[in-house]
Symmetry: C2
Subunit: 328 residues, 2 copies
């Protein structure tokens, strides 16, 4: 007996998401760098989701989920568990619809992330820092409030929303030979693959992950969801495992999962900050790290990279005023 095919968004769902979220999101710019073209030997286009609202593509999926709800259901609000960009994204999307967002965060999450979510009007519930505690706290909120659970990636509405970045990208650069995205839980990669393969069947879709968090590559090799390993990579947005919905999409539509070492990720991050003058978080540097370090057969090709987010901790960045200021 065959298991039922998990629900999966199709191209029409992504088009519908695009129309639904258009009034709320930024259409982010596509940037290029002649220095990076020289380094890679390819024509590289960067879709700048670090310039998206809340600083990450996650706002697309969160918006699509929130604005997909009927009025009555929406009024009860939305729930998620996340300490990252999805939490802020869902809080802002809910604010734009004027409904409550209940956000479960581990009590170990940096205070600054909690403040950001509350700044967007999210109602934060702290829990123990385990997956089980998160899920239990979220389930309890669903019970007590009747709010709608919006999973960070294993949700068809979220995947469809994330796919809209690729729609815009191919609208602006229709002749891309390949699209590279980071892969964590696989929401962006799934949405990208569905959109890109529908518009341009010959395009290569390449998921990029840190070698220290290569659970997606292992999952594809073993034909089952291999859980993420303990967090060691600098690319801390990519620690999650593929989900029940994203795994089969990635398995069926993605051409390759390619890996990058930590030093390669740091080097790529630095190149993007120095050469492109834009702020990205480490996870966003993984595709360029792959392109610079792995033979992918993309020399001379049109290569698209989705820069997923810009929420770098800049407290380390900003130089201090000279110490002689106080003597003035």
């Amino acid at each position: 007996m065959q298991a039922a095919t998990p629900e999966r968004p199709d191209f029409a769902a992504i088009r519908a998401a695009q129309d639904r979220i258009r009034p709320f999101i930024h259409r982010t710019p596509v940037l290029t760098s002649s220095a990076i073209n020289e380094m890679t030997g390819a024509n590289v286009f960067f879709k700048c989701e670090n310039l998206q609202k809340v600083g990450a593509f996650k706002f697309r999926g969160a918006c699509n989920a929130v604005f997909s709800l009927g009025d009555e259901e929406a009024a009860r609000g939305v729930v998620t568990h996340s300490s990252g960009n999805h939490a802020a994204a869902l809080a802002l999307a809910a604010k734009k619809r004027g409904i409550p967002a209940y956000i479960v965060m581990p009590r170990t999450a940096p205070a600054i992330k909690q403040i950001a979510v509350e700044g967007y009007g999210g109602r934060v519930t702290l829990c123990e820092p385990t997956q089980a505690a998160r899920e239990a706290a979220a389930a309890e909120l669903v019970q007590s409030t009747g709010a709608n659970l919006v999973h960070p990636y294993d949700d068809v509405r979220v995947i469809a929303g994330q796919g809209t970045a690729a729609l815009e990208f191919l609208d602006e650069v229709p002749d891309l030979d390949a699209i590279l995205t980071p892969v964590g839980g696989g929401g962006l990669l799934s949405g990208t693959a569905i959109a890109a393969k529908a518009l341009r069947p010959a395009i290569r879709v390449i998921g990029c992950e840190p070698a220290l968090a290569d659970d997606a590559a292992q999952s594809l090799r073993e034909g089952r969801i291999v859980p993420a390993r303990p967090p060691v990579t600098i690319a801390d947005g990519l620690l999650t495992s593929l989900g029940k919905i994203t795994f089969p999409i990635v398995r069926d539509l993605v051409d390759t999962i390619a890996l990058a070492e930590e030093t390669e990720i740091v080097s790529a991050l630095r190149i993007i900050l120095e050469r492109m003058k834009i702020v990205i978080e480490p996870s966003s540097a993984v595709p360029l790290a792959v392109l610079l370090s792995r033979p992918l057969g993309l020399t001379g090709r049109q290569v698209g990279i989705i820069l997923t987010g810009g929420n770098l901790d800049v407290s380390k960045i900003v130089p201090m005023p000279p110490s002689n200021q106080a003597t003035r």
Copy 2:
């Protein structure tokens, strides 16, 4: 007896510069941030010259100077003395015309800046780190090579080139009530004032400088060029004094010089990195620092800020890979 009026570029010179340099420069984007609008109470538009080639508006003026030369004169090359963005800008402009660029740099300049200039094909001459030594070395090169001296700011071709940023800015946002730029030597501020007042006479042009380097404000107060003080500000692109050409333009056309304290500059820098996700150098943060801290009567107005450059030392920015990487 009255002194002869120093040469001064007019609006037509800026229009001509725009046509001349168009094939070589980026038309940089104008970005906005709803968070910054909330903080300032104004509608703020940022002209992103940090995304210009060589990472600074300086490429506009350098290009205009280089491409203004007749073929015979150009063949002998160009000379300047600079340890900053103008050096890289002139080297790249000369490379694009296929002529030599002789760049005098103080031997104390960071090695990375010398490498950048050489990367653009510039021929570097090191000198003692004094203004007199720089000027002498440059004059010697003019003598020995017949090359054309392109001063970093006190040059009508350079000022006309810098004015093209304001032309693009007002083309994109025609109803600006004010334009704020940093002021160091006054090249950008002069070009901006000429362009903006010609297109929109009622616009306010505000030069912004660090309180620790307030020589432009003093110069206007005293009616003469007050030399820059010893370098103490974090905004190290703004240490130069106004020049013989820029001083009278600033005096006649600029409405105000406003000052920012060092902590205000650092805070504004951080806001731009965190909220706009773009990399700027400290000098570029001075106008936002002013707007956030000084009463300028711009509440509810359309305010333009030119972000002048993105050459921040990012070696301090980039996080290191986790230390347990080596144990893998």
